[in-house]
């Protein structure tokens, strides 16, 4: 008997109807709104672009303009839904409009019953929806509110450590060299020849750096340097010489290296290899970087979610 009841066409019909009812409720999610961007609005955007950049937008830029206009409209409606049009700044603006338009009630008391009545009139006139200052304010406020309310997860210690390991080059102290150098000033063949003779003599006599230095010319930037990175050396000797010095081995005289000042014979006293800075040293930098990543990801998800809401978007063709 029960089995037959379940197969009854009436029941099927009722179930189908109920299913459709449920389905339509899900599709609406409360409302299906229509956003219309008419051709005039798009033309205005294109004109603005042309005036400011001196050329019309490309196809890609055009699509981006339309997308931005849609996003703006969506944010505007979200702002109304959140009640941001009740914010004090908007009230201020509406009161100013009311005064300017000499809406009945006179200036009177700010915030008082008269003011509320004037604002109500302004709203009746629809000026709260058409005033560009209020519109812009609501759009940006909604954007800011959404960012502020982003649910950005605080990273775990494990995540921080992982980020640190994956971006180790960012937290690595570059290689540094402590060195001395013998200098022969001037560029050109004569200086190179002088340096060649000097270099041969220094190698032959195996002079220690302090004594070898005295055989050459004075370098006004100094002859003995505390540990420096290649970037720091570039600031002193120029990039090309810095690159060559950075590639040298320790405790041997280099070949002559040319800088913008002349020729240098370099003795590296000590090489301090590149060293990753300890996690504890850079933890706050790592935390900042990971939080920034999380925020961007959360924002991206939210933007997509908002765009996926059931809006019917109508762009009227000519």
């Amino acid at each position: 008997m029960r089995k037959r009841a379940l197969n009854a066409p009436v029941l099927h019909f009722l179930m189908l109807g109920f299913a459709l009812y449920l389905a339509s409720g899900w599709v609406q999610g409360g409302s299906v709104e229509e956003i219309r961007l008419d051709e005039a609005k798009i033309e205005a955007l294109v004109d603005d672009w042309h005036v400011s950049r001196g050329r019309p937008p490309t196809a890609t830029e055009h699509r981006a303009l339309v997308r931005a206009a849609l996003d703006e409209e969506i944010l505007y409606r979200e702002a109304l839904r959140y009640g941001l049009d009740r914010a004090p700044a908007v009230q201020q603006r509406l009161e100013k409009l009311a005064s300017f338009l000499q809406v009945e009630g006179g200036p009177g008391d700010v915030g008082g019953a008269d003011a509320r009545a004037r604002i109500a009139q302004i709203r009746t006139l629809g000026l709260d929806r058409t005033d560009p200052a209020i519109r812009g304010y609501l759009v940006e406020s909604m954007r800011a509110l959404l960012r502020r309310r982003l649910d950005v997860a605080t990273p775990s210690e494990a995540e921080l450590q992982q980020y640190y390991r994956q971006h180790l080059t960012r937290y690595t102290q570059p290689r540094r060299l402590r060195f001395s150098h013998v200098f022969v000033g001037g560029s050109g063949a004569e200086s190179q020849a002088r340096m060649a003779i000097l270099a041969a003599r220094i190698r032959q006599s195996a002079l220690p750096p302090e004594r070898a230095i005295a055989l050459g010319d004075a370098f006004y930037g100094g002859h003995q340097f505390s540990p420096r990175t290649e970037a720091q050396l570039a600031m002193i000797f120029g990039a090309e010489a810095a690159g060559r010095v950075s590639a040298l081995s320790t405790a041997e005289w280099s070949e002559p290296i040319a800088s913008v000042y002349g020729e240098h014979l370099v003795w590296v006293e000590e090489t301090i290899d590149e060293r990753p800075r300890r996690f504890e040293e850079v933890r706050s930098d790592v935390l900042r970087a990971v939080m920034a990543e999380h925020e961007e990801e959360a924002w991206g998800r939210l933007v997509e979610e908002i765009r996926d809401r059931p809006y019917v978007i109508a762009v009227m063709d000519e």
């Binding site: 540990p227 913008v260 800075r277």
Partner: protein, 697 residues
Amino acid sequence: MSRARLKRPFFYWQGAVLLACLSSGVVIAEGNPPFERTEARAPCDDYESLRQPFFGDLHVHTKYSFDSYVSSQRNDPWDAYRFAKGEAITLPDEYGEQQIVAKLQRPLDFTGVTDHAEFLGEMNVCTGDRWSGGWFMPLCMMTRSNIYYVQLLAAAWWKNLGVADTSAQKKRSIVCSLPGEDCGQRLSEFWSNIQQAAKDHYDRSAACNFTTFVAYEYTDAPNYKNLHRNVIFRNERVTDIPISTYDTGTQNVPELWRRLMSECIEGDEGCDVLAIPHNPNLSGGLMFPDPSTLEEAAHRRFFEPLVELTQHKATSECRYDRLAGKGLYTEDELCDFEQNKTDNLSSLGVIFGEMQAAEGAPVPLEEYGRRNMVRNVLKDGLALEAKTGLNPFKLGFIGSTDTHSAVPGGAEEDNYVGHLGKRDAGYRNVQDHFEDNPGGLAVVWAEENSRDSLFEAMRRRETYATSGTRPVIRVFGGWELDQGLCEATDLVQQAYAQGVPMGGDLSAAPEGKRPHFLVSVLKDPGSPGHPGTDIDLIQMVKGWLDADGNTHEEVIDIAGNPHDAASVDPETCAPVGRGYSDLCTVWEDEDFDPDQRAFYYVRVLENPTCRWSTLQCQAAGVNPFDEQCEAQATAATEALRAGGAKGDVYGRCCLAAEDEPFYTPTIQERAWTSPIWYGPDTRGSGASLRKDDGASS
């Protein structure tokens, strides 16, 4: 000899102004640096006991400054520090669209963001918080507008409100009196952000890649006469709020010093602070008055050991008018470098190619304040010392940019994006800011790149200014410096041992001795694609006071070749002719008189290069060296007018140098080292590598 180290400045002893700085003459090793460590941080790996040059910018504005924000500039202090470290930031173009990508060719070593203290609270209300009741106040809306006319109105409104008027008690903006608004709390929030940005970007690790300073600008300009100074804190101990003209009233800089004394130096253990004045050239003669009290003189000497000698709004070393054929108490023809024609802040009032402010009219030499130029100030300081026993104008030199585009170090002549946001972006730079320039750099000789080391170097004035390039310059003065020192590979060690570096004081002359000065220069090594320029000339500038109380000056060529024919290629601006990659000399003052107070500073000139305006004119198809320049300028201007530009844009490109008092299409970039002073009754100080309390004699 024992060392007497003073913890507080000399005036603490009721007007005693002489101080002795005795030393043992021993070079201090790294483990015990000659500067005091006032903060917890790692010592730097590249610590150098013989000191090394660090390049920075101590005058930087971000969107927190009203006059940056109204120029469509939207980078905050964090962005400015990122730029200084070599990252790219986005700037507004001439239409206010955030389109320009700016990046330094070479990062800086240190920077202090110096937003205006005035209106910090109001700027927070108007631009920082859209929930504020003031968001839609007219001034706030105008400040945020991107419409040029509206922005100009807003700028004028702010200026008239608080930084250019002359009332003793300045007015607050109406946004501060709105219900629920608290500009004090808003100011604290922005001041806290400024400190946080400095903290976030200060490298406290042993790598010492970058140093920040918590700082702000004290912005007083009665009737547009510039009395601004940048207040730089040594470490993170700072005053509760940035003391502004709202706290001191206008034309009351001594009150700033008194407050800094009570709220920082004396009021907060470990707090230390400097104030660095700038643009005396635009001060209408007001920047360096004779002090009216001993306290004022002592405070000025203590708080202001440096002056920002060169920056975006022109150079203040000295002034020579080529058309008049004479200078401002000088005959030095090289003083035509980067000068503004007027003497007050209306110099910025050119819009659409025309000066709009009556006060911006050129000021003839006869009406131009003597002490608008620092060389005259230094001379007058000697006279004041003879009269009162204290020289209030012992000024070392730095350069900076004064960028309002949040681009610290943006002084690269061939990479100049402007310093006023939209107002001098793109073509507007040549049109409306032709007289201005990319600014300069501050160079500090310090052991390491940390706040304490740099700050103490600034206190002892071991600094120099450049007009934007990076030559490396050492100067020492002493009685025993050997003539052959330039050939000694340990010349720096010897010089520190036997003399005083730039910024120091020579002791009273030993019997029969004349001062010797060692000057060494390395040319700017350049960067890939941007080679440095050869050195042309080293000059010694001497000022002295004679027995009758009159001041004198002399400029002497001491090394290099003033008569060489170096120039630039008129089509490409490539350098023509060679100069020096390095230069050194030991110069003796043969006219030295031991009874006469004197100062000596060095000016180094590079070979000629094209001015920024020449490069930008040429890029627009207008060549200042071409006979067809004017036709080119007309055509280029017309093309822009079709896109909405107003007024003459490129006409100034074709200005003839012979018709102008100061402008030339090529310049000689230069550097100026802090003076070394001599007085017949002083003990030497700032000397060697010894610890120095900074408040030197």
